[in-house]
Symmetry: C2
Subunit: 574 residues, 2 copies
């Protein structure tokens, strides 16, 4: 392609409402333009990258044996009513009425539609397992669309759905999809982590999110520095640093602590190491627990994890913190003076609290704290659970190393759905025993357009985008100097353009006859991974100038070798 | 592909609500399934063909220099209000509201969106001409969706839009698109005609429809048997068979014609040749004509063309036939007794009427007709216009031969829009003279999903679909006989499958081990153009059995030659 036929639409100014770097760079590089809030037009340059990601996704899904279909974007309400989601989905579901006043929605996902198809098309266990997928436009009416295509309302998604006779078959396919996703993001040239998204209660559903690592990511993920373990930071299991509490060295003392209401007061006012302070947080108890309130203990330097707390059988869901009034009525002291010793309500300790010795905590009397407390000696050992959010440096739950915290952008999500939709829609097949068996399902999504933005968040610098070659809009920028003045430059450039194209390399020839600085800046902004400059001076010695997008220096390559040299370089890039 | 991995989803029964053959065959061959009225899911088999059509369209658009973009399906009402279409589009426009109660629509077309993009991105004449296109899902809320994907509500469309400094540039691009469309439909293996869709008033817009010829087509088109001339039958110019009226041979006679109210009565009751009868039809006149009514004359065997009549300056638009009451009040006779002689209202004659001699017509008195009338001799020569619809056998307007009438399915439409949208949206560029110049536009659509249905309407037989090879879901069906019993058949089939695949041929290997009749019927229904049968008997002589989808007989091909033989055959097919 030549810029005369494939115009560059770069912008010099940084658009005011673009908050994150990928949004800014996609606008500046002429990849997208905003139509309305959360609605973007893909310009030719951006669409080339989008189509490359799409092609990689399609190839790997096909390779994994998935069958491509194309379902309508507009979906009848009846199926959503059957699944119960018409009522429960909320305002992200764009509901609409046709001319006959029948209810439809613009599909944000297709579980209902594919399950309806499956119940009609799948009759026998012999047709299982089967995976259907599509690459299609979705709509989610985000309350605050932002970050360009990262959190757009209309977006391109690959959604896949698998059907099985039993959960063993689902598990096998789930694993296959997990591998396909790893291939996809690897081929896109992205650093990513599959992250356990829900450790779940026993027998619950398994789910993994695929995160592209980037400092700007909205999600914090915890991953092991010595193994494959990775989980959403909210869900990662917190392991105490020691297995057992050290032996007591202090005696228990009840002291007056006027004005001490926080851990900070205790640490600074009484020189307590924060690791040996205990916070007591009171929440509403589950009705069946026999108590109105329950206390949760975490170390002073740890954070209560609300997601984990809410899953405890003793705790009411949704989780609700007790009011000061409720606390005073039940315990006789305010929230700043609570502690596990002589506590008149049930109490659950985080695993790290259970291995803490010589600790300080409130005495359940206003203005008094206990110091030098030790389990068993001074108060009974409490029920123990995982109540806190992991921190950088914590032991990895798989015992392999330490947890590190990184930020990630969710670009994929795989999920063992089980029978949720097949039960609701009565999707069954005849099993081997001839009896109707409810289908078991998995679903597997990739935000295709989001992958493009995530790739930029991970790969950019001050000058612009630094595309991984596999998803770059072009592989090579060919920049002739003084095209209008030098016949020799023109001739060499045209020859090189033909030779590179014939070698199957995607070249963008900048034939604008612009100043070198303008061309360099545009090609760096757009992020083309390889740059060849053709100029009279280098041609004198039979050379052209090469610079990789991430290189600091240019290098001279003999013109007759450059095509072979680039082919080798390009095809070697992962 | 193997049927074990790419399951066949054929149906034996003909679905009850499928009215046309392509709809029936697409359902039976397992290409599509209905989700709701006018909404279809493309199954894997159907999607393969859809994607092939899409790929051909994309290649030819790219080759013509068009730039691919992707605009949102959901469009803000504001732009449609700017163009005026928010009010005028009618209920086919699917209007919707987002969670903030802002108005949007699901785009049935994208003139407003692309013009909005153009006014932002195009600044100078140097950027012109430029063509943008997209291949995207559209929605038109048809009042009565039917015929499967032929007239669906949600469908896949290629829409392109070109921008120009002047109409000369538009005309050149229009011609280029005309050629690209011809390449596309030729490559799809379809018999088609580009048809002039609007002969238009002078200075008006030029437009061509591309029709796939098929007896089931909804549109009648008139085309010349000796030239490229083709037009929608409603718009084709009607030329009289003779240039001048023959000399009179009869005298004018006023006769009592009790009970004669129709041309049929006149022909049968008074032995008049129908070609020498004249119908007088009275319509409301244009207000500025000075008369309330105007009479239109066509020969008894011709049909008044309402589209042509409405365009006459004397006729009120929209066209309205006069009531009997109005006619009696103005003329003093009923509609069955009208004629041009002594008619008290203005009168316009079709060109064929103007060259008719010795004709009969009503006498503007109930129960009386004139016979043997001749222009000039018996009544003044009237104003003449083209008022009738052409018939098979009429002279071609270009003077080259005779018109034939065929039925067609509209699959493409190209249109010289001019400044309609660019004026409304104030889309200008700086011209060479430095002054703001309103953009001139063209638009160019192809119903990609409709092409699939139209191809079937044109290519099918009793057994099923007969795909043109270029858009067949697979090129070759490989059918082993008694796969489960014959090791030799299995071995030969697997070898052939590998060799055909390696040669770049798309093979569907039916490894169901079904009966021959079942496999033959399925592959004929699906319409795979070439069939290879591997069986023990033929293998004895080193042969496999070949049959083209349209062949009556099978032929034996030496197994070691069959790959090369097929490659030659497949690549020779246009």
């Amino acid at each position: 392609m030549r810029t005369s036929q494939f115009p560059i639409q770069t912008l010099k100014e940084v658009p005011a409402d673009a908050e994150i770097v990928s949004h800014r760079l996609m606008l500046r590089a002429g990849m997208i333009r905003k139509l309305a809030a959360g609605l973007y037009t893909w310009l030719p340059m951006g669409l080339r990258t989008l189509r490359k990601v799409e092609a990689i996704v399609r190839e790997e899904m096909d390779r994994a044996g998935a069958l491509e279909v194309l379902m309508p974007a507009v979906q009848p309400a009846e199926l959503w009513q059957e699944s119960g989601r018409w009522e429960h989905y909320g305002p992200e579901l764009l509901r609409l009425r046709d001319r006959h006043q029948r209810d439809f929605c613009f599909g944000p996902t297709h579980e209902e539609i594919i399950t309806d198809l499956a119940r009609a098309e799948l009759k026998s266990y012999k047709q299982l397992p089967v995976i259907f997928y599509q690459i299609q436009t979705k709509f989610r009416d985000e309350i605050r669309p932002r970050f360009g295509v990262m959190r757009a309302r209309e977006f391109l998604m690959k959604d896949a759905y698998s059907f099985h006779l039993d959960s063993a078959s689902l598990t096998a396919t789930y694993q296959r999809m997990h591998e396909a996703y790893s291939h996809i993001f690897t081929r896109c040239g992205l650093a990513f982590r599959p992250v356990r998204a829900d450790t779940g209660s026993i027998g619950g559903n398994t789910s993994h999110e695929f995160h592209v690592l980037a400092d700007s990511g909205e999600d914090a993920i915890a991953f092991c520095d010595a193994s494959d373990y990775a989980a959403n930071v909210e869900l990662a299991e917190a392991i105490p640093a020691t297995a057992q509490a050290p032996s007591p060295t202090e005696s228990a003392r009840l002291l007056d602590t006027p004005g001490v209401r926080t851990i900070d007061d205790l640490v600074h006012g009484f020189a307590q190491p924060i690791e040996r302070t205990v916070k007591t947080l009171v929440v509403a108890a589950a009705p069946e627990s026999g108590s109105a309130l329950v206390a949760l203990l975490v170390r002073g330097d740890h954070e209560l994890n609300l997601t984990k707390a809410e899953k405890l059988p003793e705790v009411a869901a949704p989780l609700r913190m007790a009011t000061e009034e409720e606390i005073r009525a039940a315990i006789g002291a305010g929230p700043g003076s609570l502690g596990p010793k002589d506590l008149p309500i049930p109490c659950i300790a985080d695993a790290s609290v259970a291995v803490t010795s010589d600790f300080s905590a409130g005495a359940n009397q206003d203005g008094k704290h206990w110091f030098g407390l030790n389990w068993e000696r001074d108060l009974p050992r409490p029920r123990v659970a995982d109540l806190r959010t992991v921190r950088d440096g914590d032991p990895s739950p798989d015992g392999a190393g330490r947890l590190r915290i990184a930020r990630g952008i969710e670009v994929g999500h795989i999920f063992q759905l089980g029978c949720k939709y097949s039960e609701a829609l009565k999707a069954t097949v005849l099993g081997e025993d001839g009896r109707a068996t409810t289908l078991t399902m998995g679903c597997y999504g990739i935000g295709v357009s989001r992958v493009v933005a995530a790739a930029i968040e991970q790969h950019h610098d001050e000058q612009g985008i630094r595309w991984p070659t596999a998803i770059a809009p072009f592989e090579v920028a060919l920049l002739p100097m003084k095209l209008g003045k030098s016949f020799r430059v023109r001739e060499a450039t045209e020859q090189l353009y033909d030779d590179l194209s014939a070698a199957g390399i995607e070249v963008l020839l900048d034939d604008r006859d612009a100043r070198a600085g303008v061309m360099f800046a545009d090609m760096e902004l757009i992020g083309i991974p390889h740059r060849i400059v053709v100029g009279d001076r280098a041609l004198d010695a039979g050379h052209v100038e090469y610079k990789g997008r991430g290189d600091n220096e240019t290098q001279l390559i003999p013109i007759e070798e450059v095509v072979g040299w680039l082919v080798a370089r390009l095809r070697a890039v992962p």
